[in-house]
């Protein structure tokens, strides 16, 4: 027992607690490590029984992820000549030739465009609204705030029915603009609530002082409040981005070829015949890694973000 505090846990307690938590963390991490590992397996290693922990790493999964391949007849193989690049060689093992790039790159790019686009608008609109809610007497303020939150309570499929019809009328189905608009609207609830909390924490006196110094209200907002709220806004932005990045149901229903994002696409990656698990795993790895990095960046604001600011730490 440590001498300076009676509530501080003992060394033994700490050790026991630590080992339990680490054990849990390792178990919980296994599926993720398995995804990453599978991405570097050959298709036959990936479906080997018993599951292979030690294997010869290969980039086949990544090659298959980014290309479409055709089974070639012997004459075609002769005609094509010796494989020229390392990825040609990988494909040629299976008597196949690369017919072109796959759609994964496009889908990933769509995720980036729609994710960043919707985040940008959600943050701009959300910051403005949050500032107004925080600093002015807006009629029906509490109702409005709750109403904004309530939009997230609807099941996405229920939301998708009228949106589908509306987008159809406006020609917004399967467009980037449509998806950005939709995700912006959904993310607004998060951004308004979070940024509202962050701005509330900035003492109002700062702005008052600035106003006395001759700033207009807008300047005070722009030059005083915004710089102070930067960290909060940045972490809110990452949360919005992660939501748009991970969203599946609406993307699956409202996009098909042009504006489809990666989540509905990745589960549909198949190889010759069966599901090509190394390619799926490779696609998943590339897609999940940014979020993992964001999570590390966000760890201080995590709680606030996932609870709409209801819990602060």
């Amino acid at each position: 027992m440590s001498s300076y505090s009676i509530t501080e846990p003992s060394k033994r307690q700490k050790w026991a607690a630590g080992s339990f938590v680490i054990f849990y963390a390792v178990v919980t991490l296994m599926p993720l490590l398995w995804i990453i590992a599978t991405g570097f397996k050959s298709p036959s290693d990936a479906i080997a029984y018993p599951p292979k922990v030690v294997f010869q790493p290969t980039l086949e999964g990544y090659v298959n992820l980014f290309t479409t391949r055709t089974r070639a007849t012997p004459e075609m193989l002769v005609q094509a000549g010796e494989p020229k690049t390392w990825y040609d060689r990988i494909v040629r093992q299976y008597d196949m030739v690369i017919a072109g790039p796959s759609r994964y790159g496009e889908r990933f790019l769509n995720s980036v465009i729609i994710g960043f686009g919707s985040t940008f608008f959600a943050i701009v609109l959300g910051t403005a609204a949050a500032y107004a809610f925080s600093r002015f007497r807006v009629p029906l303020k509490d109702d409005l705030l709750f109403f904004i939150l309530s939009t997230r309570m609807m099941p996405p499929i229920a939301v998708a029915i009228p949106i589908f019809l509306m987008f159809r009328q406006l020609g917004l189905n399967d467009t980037h603009a449509g998806m950005i608009l939709l995700y912006t609207a959904i993310n607004l609830s998060l951004s308004v609530w979070l940024i509202h909390g962050f701005i509330n924490e900035i003492p109002i006196e700062y702005e008052e002082a600035a106003l006395i110094d001759g700033y207009t209200r807008f300047q005070a907002f722009y030059k005083v409040v915004l710089p102070q709220a930067t960290t909060g806004i940045a972490s809110t932005a990452i949360f919005c981005l992660i939501f748009a990045w991970n969203e599946y149901a609406l993307a699956a229903l409202l996009t098909s070829g042009t504006a489809q994002t990666a989540p509905p696409f990745i589960p549909t990656i198949i190889g010759t015949g069966g599901q090509d698990w190394p390619a799926v795993a490779a696609g998943a790895t590339i897609f999940l890694l940014p979020v993992m990095i964001f999570t590390i960046l966000l760890r201080k604001h995590l709680l606030r973000g996932i609870t709409f600011g209801a819990v602060r730490k």
């Binding site: 479906i47 479409t68 391949r69 055709t70 089974r71 007849t73 299976y94 008597d95 017919a99 072109g100 759609r103 686009g117 608008f121 589908f164 509306m166 987008f167 159809r168 009328q169 406006l170 020609g171 917004l172 189905n173 399967d174 467009t175 980037h176 603009a177 950005i180 608009l181 912006t184 229903l253 409202l254 098909s256 070829g257 042009t258 504006a259 549909t268 198949i270 010759t272 015949g273 069966g274 599901q275």
Partner: protein, 443 residues
């Protein structure tokens, strides 16, 4: 519907959003062809290079895996999307796509370019191109003939010790089954057996729940035990045909096959899972569409002499096989209809169709498949011809999706989840289908 006000309100409401971000750039005169993501599609990419070279149009492809294909593409058609110029859509969609004018009617185009539907395998014309069925109204050109059949491990069947044991047990040779009962015997025989130091199972069959899998599988058994979609004399009369004694027996047979002879965990399997199981040496036989045969034949582990092919065996009530395959259609919403039609014209040529077959695409052109050299050109060619001669297809009604969903649920609930009896399942199906047809005003 008086939704004009709503629409214009929506338009105003969203004007802001659109103008803020601008329209997404329109593509050049590229043609986009939509199809399922499977081996034949990759072959089509290769085949189409010839069209690109000749026409100067660039081809883009949008391939969606089978479990999502119907979902995505019907969504695309119903949302008035412009993604696909050409669509190789599933045979059952033709009714809806024709009645809602989502496909371009091709009669005039065929007449003008000397394309005759008489030149194609009759079953594929009825199955893939016509709506209403058996009338000369064409909405597609038969593109890919396909049918459910079986692949089996020839090398395992040929093992002397297994042959001897099988003969002792069933007093006949271990050979390609001639009836569904024989098929089940063989599957039972292989189930749980040790072959080359590995535990193997009898058969991989379709059990997929989400799209159409279990229906495409179980229907084979149902047809061959005497199931009929409706009264041949009186359309849409279901009672006594859908739930006939034979139909119930057929479903019971399919469940018994699922229970006795499939690998563990084969509860949601469709084409790709069956291929995986077969190629990894888990099963002695697999039910699958014919499209897989070129891939099996070329496979490093199970290809060549190791595999054989046979058509769906007959049952006590008939001899049919579930039709697969698709026709190629021009999407009415497409901005490039002329170029899309040019593609179909190119595709219908004899030499293109021949090349299609060598690349692994099942041509539906009679002159290709009736060529004397066709049957021996590939080990599976004869089986394909035999299978195409006995095809039967699911409803192609505009309400096909509702009919299919009901079937999927009833079959999966009974066969895989073991809920209720086969009789209850088929009676339930009559009730479900009746409801759909009543809603449609067909009854």
């Amino acid at each position: 519907m008086k939704s004009k006000l709503f629409n214009s309100a929506a338009a105003i409401g969203l004007l802001f959003g659109i103008s803020a971000f601008g329209a997404t750039g329109a593509q050049a005169a590229d043609l986009t062809l939509c199809w399922a993501a499977w081996d034949p599609a990759n072959a089509l990419v290769e085949l189409s290079k010839d069209f690109e070279a000749k026409s100067g149009n660039k081809m883009k492809f949008e391939f969606v895996p089978w479990p999502n294909f119907a979902d995505r593409m019907l969504n695309e058609l119903n949302s008035g999307g412009k993604l696909c110029d050409l669509l190789i859509g599933d045979s059952q969609w033709i009714g809806g796509a024709a009645e809602n004018k989502q496909y371009v009617k091709l009669n005039d185009f065929f007449d003008k370019n000397g394309i005759s539907m008489k030149d194609f395998i009759p079953a594929t014309v009825t199955g893939y191109a016509e709506w209403p069925k058996n009338t000369p109204n064409y909405w597609a050109l038969p593109a890919f003939g396909d049918v459910v059949g079986w692949t089996y491990r020839k090398d395992w069947f040929a093992k002397p010790e297994l042959q001897a044991e099988f003969k002792k047990k069933y007093s006949r040779d271990l050979a390609v089954p001639k009836s569904l009962d024989e098929l089940k015997d063989i599957a039972t025989f292989f189930q749980g057996r040790d072959i080359d130091g590995k535990k193997v199972y009898g058969a991989a069959i379709y059990t997929e729940r989400g799209s159409e899998g279990i229906t495409m599988g179980a229907m084979n058994a149902l047809y061959n035990f005497g199931f009929q979609y409706d009264n041949p004399a009186k359309p849409y009369e279901l009672q006594g045909f859908v739930n006939s004694e034979g139909a119930v027996k057929g479903l019971e047979f399919y469940k018994s096959l699922y229970d006795c002879c499939t690998p563990p965990g084969a509860s949601d399997w469709y084409m790709s899972q069956n291929i995986d199981a077969y190629k990894s040496g888990q099963v002695a036989m697999q039910m699958n569409f014919a499209f897989i045969w070129p891939g099996v034949n070329a496979d490093a582990n199970v290809g060549g002499d190791k595999s054989g092919y046979f058509p769906m065996p007959a049952g006590p009530g008939g001899h049919f096989a579930q039709l697969g395959g698709q026709g190629i259609s021009v999407v009415a919403n497409s901005a490039h209809q002329e170029e899309a039609l040019a593609y179909i014209k190119w595709f219908a040529q004899k030499d293109v169709q021949s090349k299609w077959w060598t690349l692994g695409g099942y041509s539906a052109l009679s002159s290709v498949v009736n060529d004397p050299s066709f049957a021996t050109s590939q080990p599976y060619a004869q089986t394909f011809l035999d299978s195409m001669a006995i095809v039967k297809d699911f409803w192609a009604e505009p309400s096909y999706a509702s009919l299919m969903q009901a079937t999927q649920k009833r079959f999966h609930d009974y066969v895989v989840a073991g809920k209720g009896t086969a009789k209850e399942a088929m009676d339930g199906l009559v009730a479900d289908w009746t409801k759909v047809f009543k809603d449609e005003g067909k009854m």
